[in-house]
Subunit: 367 residues, 2 copies
């Protein structure tokens, strides 16, 4: 058999129907036409999806492993997603749970260029977890955002990312905002003697994204935030390829909850596609991911994977400083903790609260 | 109050919790931080999302109408989606059901450039429904696909779209395939004296998409197929703007089933963003959309909308020729019926089966 990847689905079904259902998915995700109407022996042998295994999960659902021809996937990231889940995303009895890639595909996408190790160097945080906060609210003018960024930086935090809602709105246009915030953070760093990196949130089409990266580089920034499911994965891959020295943090906006397992999409796939740090909703916050989902997602992001650097898991979504020890117990040191609103809620004590967050992470006992 | 759009969500909740839940979504989809930590009066007045109405649906769910500031949405399509559903897409108790746009936003996006009326002209089908089929299976060489395209065209069909699985694979590279299929269809049209349009499937990043449109134009084509949720909506909008004479048919791959109501995403939003014809899974085929969902989707695509041309609904997904009268009873004449595998299953009778499909649509009594 030619090169195949293995796509792993969870399918709600009864025992009598599952074999036919698995076969139907194998056809849907490959040739999408009646197999009996195909004459070509190469298509039948090398292209039609193959059911490799079906396993009863004992809960009214089955794990179905399909072998899909690597040749059908492009090579292009959008087409890969198309073959993995294009039409089947519209079947609400199926979720995409995992993918096993042959080595050649890993090399083709290549994973993070900066990754955990590179971000540690940029943050000057070799032996500890990293910290991050979020710059908001949108609606403030650039000067207002820059003032908040300055106060975060004076607290000594490692990373300040734009709220993913900051785009190119007229109340804080991208170029103006990024220059103002980059300057404010740089000035604060000169006062503290510490390193804080500011990540602007990119948006728009590929031309606009390139323009925004150029503006970011001109402001001496080397990290950015992107929501891959909003800009589109093909744009992410293009930027990853064109700007290997720019670290990319991903935001999960529009990534949904139910149809592609979060550990796969936000952990494994984003990592494979080159994301250096992946933001996701931690358990116990404003979102409903379970501890098991968060654990699996962090594992997918940073577990050893031949030839693919580790991506930093960034749990977020309603976190607070008092949860730092518990989060570090849970994730260990290979993590970046993100607290946004939880710091901003301190209002006039913002810098002190940021410093307390930073100290709490630095002083944690990482045995 | 400043300009607002209204986003309409369906939220699973009990009656005691729904007000707080609605407020939480309004904050999540606007400033995404504690309102109590916001000082700026303009942000509080103009930017924070507003709960406009909550209505009990009587089934354990509520309709929640939020007013979201137009200023937060960009103006950019990705940022619009971000504000509509970015973070809330990760809450599995919420679906995005509908959006009401103020007139300025409609004008900004502009809707289809060709639309129903323009496609009717291109097909020479003023008084009847249009027909479409799908070129497959992938894995065939370009010559094999061109031979099938020729046989479809000899049957007199209006449109032949590439299977959405056809990308730039090495067994049928885009440029080679498109030239071969365009030539084959043009030759067949010279024999039949009829008009058949071939739509290549585009994929990749914006640079690659532009390159593929250029190749398509060189092959004298004026219609293409795009899967917006795979290439990313920002790329769709860029192409729509740059190539106003190219008709765009959308494919729903990766559009999911559960989190954004299909009538909204595949009908209303794709139409607003400029799609001329929208493919979706018809009821009673391989997918699970109900007749009510299909009806609502078709309505969203083609109902009168001031300043926005109609988009052609294209029901598909396991349709067969014997269903033509029933589908035309259901959708009326303002539709394009798509039968792919159902024609290919006729094998050596492919041209005859295609002609029978075409005749059935042409001879239907459209009173």
């Amino acid at each position: 058999m030619n090169d195949r990847l293995t796509a792993i689905y969870r399918v709600r079904s009864d025992a009598q129907s599952i074999e036919a259902r698995a076969q139907a998915i194998a056809v849907e995700q490959s040739i999408e036409m009646p197999v009996t109407a195909v004459d070509d022996p190469i298509v039948l042998r090398d292209i039609v999806g193959a059911v490799e295994a079906i396993e009863d999960r004992g809960d009214g659902s089955f794990t179905v492993r399909l072998g899909l021809a690597v040749a059908t996937t492009g090579p292009e990231v959008g087409q890969l997603m198309n073959m993995l889940f294009g039409n089947t995303s519209m079947h609400d009895d199926v979720t995409l749970e995992d993918v096993a890639f042959p080595p050649d595909m890993l090399a083709q996408f290549g994973g993070p260029r900066i990754g955990l190790a590179g971000l540690r160097i940029r943050a000057g945080a070799q032996e500890r977890a990293m910290t991050c906060t979020a710059l908001k609210p949108q609606g403030l003018p650039s000067s207002g955002l820059a003032a908040i960024a300055s106060r975060f930086a004076l607290g000594g935090i490692d990373f300040i990312k734009d709220d993913h809602g900051l785009a190119n709105q007229r109340y804080s246009p991208f170029a103006e905002r990024v220059r103002a915030c980059a300057d404010a953070v740089a000035n604060a760093c000169r006062m503290t003697g510490r390193v804080t990196r500011y990540l602007p949130s990119l948006s728009g089409n590929l031309d606009q994204l390139r323009d925004q990266i150029r503006i970011s580089i001109e402001a001496e920034l080397d990290c950015v935030l992107i929501a891959p499911m909003i800009v589109g994965l093909p744009s992410l891959l293009a930027l990853r390829h064109e700007y290997p020295d720019i670290a990319i943090m991903s935001h999960p906006a529009l990534a949904g909850a139910a149809r592609i397992a979060p550990p796969l999409l936000l952990g494994k796939l984003f990592r494979l596609f080159g994301v250096d740090a992946t933001v996701f909703p931690n358990h116990g916050g404003r979102f409903s991911y379970s501890p098991a989902t968060c654990r699996a997602l962090a594992d997918q992001a940073r577990a050893p994977w031949p030839g693919i650097a580790a991506c930093v898991p960034v749990p977020a979504g309603g976190m607070t400083t008092d949860r730092v020890p518990e989060m570090l117990d849970f994730y260990g040191r290979d993590v970046m903790l993100l607290i946004g609103g939880g710091l901003l809620a301190a209002r006039e004590r913002l810098t002190a609260e940021t410093a307390a967050f930073q100290t709490s992470v630095e002083n944690y006992d990482y045995r």
